[in-house]
Subunit: 431 residues, 2 copies
């Protein structure tokens, strides 16, 4: 039976989950995988980890694990990108495989880490870095290996999905749900990493690289969070047959790659619109398989541990030469030109207010028609105050921001139109 000695660095939420699942499910993991996974060394500065570390070498210094000559594989679960990078590079240079759940590390330094791993003939695996317990990277890399991936769209941040789900189902404001999310541990004290879309953009960077065989495009992703979403627009979206979600989307245009993270209206007929709460889901369109979707918990101690351990077993069973972390051999990863966000095609939801007077709507629709911009739906609704203004909501068919902007400028020039616009993208997910 194959044996693998592993060292775990970090015994926080994920690290303690990995250790406990390896201990509790030792028999079934051995039986299924025909591998013996021995945790021989753990390192943490956290003295309150609550884990059973009997018969396991214990260090306060994580680098001790990477230097331990008995260890075949280092599990990096300390987070951050500074010490983690140093640890992973040391492990690789000492000929050890690495499994990590660290999306920031991979999104920022993945290309150089994988290059180092390639040269040292070791594996670096990071299933848990995207969409927690969902085996999404394995599915793209192996399950869909026969496909040219056309596009991918995912709900890949549980915090923002929880907030938008609660706003939509219970009519609560962004601020009130955020506060609850913080109380329930779904959002950090400083929530900006999640709600500004940074977490999602790191994950999308990994998914984009893996879908199209390119270097990690983190610095080139358009990223927008959900802090500016009024409840009113969640409801107008619903009325139009859409659900507002924070999504990451990437698409192969041949010469250029499109990749972006932002809130978007998703048709209620798409299964992606039914993904609620802290769950994650990734929808992938491949040229042979058409569209598949992978759904599950995007975070949490034992769900994330499930993915970390799947990686450990894969390392134990894999032929090192046959494994490509990003689904393409690292030496084949190339830079791709990114499509400017202004040139990305999608539908647009536009809301603004006008003075409630005869003829305004016809002026607006004429401007749209003159610009050859077709309108899918339109809502006109009294604003609930004494202002004699109405909300106008327009849903455009597919176009680009650079086509839309001059039209909106013309609309603004009308006397009765406010100059504040709410603009959201609409993803039909239909091709």
């Amino acid at each position: 039976m194959r044996q693998l000695n592993i060292g775990i660095c970090g015994l926080g939420t994920v690290g303690s989950g990995v250790l406990s699942v390896l201990q509790n499910n030792a028999d079934i993991i051995r039986e299924k995988s025909s591998c013996l996974i021995h945790v021989t060394h753990v390192a943490t500065r956290n003295t309150n980890h609550g884990c059973n570390v009997e018969n396991i070498q214990f260090s306060n210094d994580i680098f001790e694990v990477a230097r331990d000559s008995d260890i075949d594989l280092v599990v990096e679960l300390i987070g951050g990108t500074s010490s983690a990078l140093e640890l992973v590079m040391l492990a690789i240079s000492n000929g050890k495989h690495v499994v990590t759940a660290n999306k920031a590390l991979i999104a920022e330094h993945g290309t150089s880490i994988l290059q180092a791993a390639y040269e040292a003939n070791v594996i670096v695996a990071f299933e848990a870095s995207v969409a927690g317990g969902i085996p999404i990277l394995k599915s793209i890399r192996e399950g869909l290996v026969a496909n040219k991936i056309n596009w991918l769209a995912g709900i890949i941040n549980g915090t923002t999905n929880f907030i938008l789900s609660e706003m939509s189902s219970k009519g609560r404001s962004f601020e009130s749900v955020l506060e609850e999310a913080q109380k329930r541990g779904y959002a950090e004290a400083d929530p900006s990493f999640d709600i500004e879309g940074i977490d999602a953009s790191q994950k999308l960077s990994i998914l984009t690289s893996m879908s199209f065989g390119m270097t990690l495009p983190l610095d080139h992703l358009f990223t927008e969070g959900i802090t500016k979403i009024p409840l009113k627009d969640v409801y107008f979206a619903k009325e139009l047959g859409f659900t507002l979600k924070h999504i990451g989307i990437c698409r192969d245009h041949g010469e250029q790659i499109e990749a972006r993270v932002h809130p978007a209206l998703i048709p209620d007929s798409s299964i992606l619109s039914s993904v609620n709460g802290v769950s994650n889901a990734v929808m992938i369109n491949g040229d042979a398989v058409d569209t598949t979707l992978y759904y599950g918990p995007g975070a949490g101690s034992t769900p994330t541990a499930s993915s970390v351990i799947a990686d450990i077993v894969e390392v134990a069973k894999s032929d090192k030469n046959a494994y490509s972390s990003l689904g393409f051999p690292v030496e084949k990863l190339c830079q791709r030109k990114m499509l400017d966000i202004d040139l990305v095609e999608c539908g647009f939801y536009v809301r603004f207010t006008v003075v409630n007077e005869t003829g305004v709507l016809s002026k607006i629709t004429k401007i749209m028609a003159d610009s050859a911009l077709s309108i899918e739906s339109i809502i006109q609704r009294d604003v609930e105050d004494d202002s004699n203004r109405v909300d106008i909501v327009l849903l455009s068919s597919k176009t680009t921001q650079s086509n839309l902007s001059p039209v909106l400028r013309k609309i603004t020039e009308l006397d009765s139109v406010s100059d504040e616009f709410v603009i959201l993208r609409v993803e039909y997910l239909d091709n």
Copy 2:
């Protein structure tokens, strides 16, 4: 670069899909997998296959492929269980790996096929046999390897899901949708294989075996189709907040295994209820990961080809000793005792008619209460005819058929109650 010579037996819908995807995506498959997949031999009696077989040896006799000494792997896509079994066994005994999409073959003969493969040190892989293009077997086998699987529930037959989706969304009768499904090629001229649940039960057999490490339990699965579903019940279900789906479900009870295929009410809050049309989806609950779901096309030429080719690449890359087709080593697969369907716990939907007279409902609810059977919801609605009868719909909390039956017998004894009951199971999918 690894090379694999393969022979394809059968150039029907799936076989021609496999050949064309291998040809059209040859570059990307080679690049992603670092493997060269050569189709060196095809065999079919179908002269109208429309495939490009230039430079490929062509036989009318499928057994020629299994005897071809240049071939490393035989792709069995002829269907059926007679010649297919003979072909697969011949290929194995000639030391060739086998990839198949044949669920009937695996469900009926999988245990002996895998035993023969184990002895010959070759791989038999069958991702495409369950849920078409969705990489579901790989996800259970590898992605969720760290988990003890608690239960699994899936929509694994596209024909029945199409029929129920259309009935629900458009108010059409079973017969009318079946006719359309046949016209559109979603159902065979003789549709009984799909609508009686046989196809789903073969797939569930494979999923059950893989989830719990047991021999294939096909002969012991409770199987019920959708031919007896009145449209009225689809609507009552909807009113109660449920969607009627044809599902396969299996669960590990420790001493016994529960596995069954039948129509069931699924809560609208579950993402499984949003799976419409010919799509498939499988929901899996594991002790570490909690619940994940895998969604996509359950059939079709190139979606199924996507899974067949993923298997071929996996065979090319795998260490033969480290691969277990069913996720557990074949020598570890054991028989498990199956739980009698009458003892399976679930909710029940019961509809019957009573004469519309004072006091009937209270007699019925008293019988339920006396039997300690709690009612989650109740609907009373006039029958749309001149009969002065009303439909009564009861939704019970979780119980068993053997607890329910005596209660229903007592209700039947009431003067005003019809003796025709519609009984459907309710799956809350909550643990």
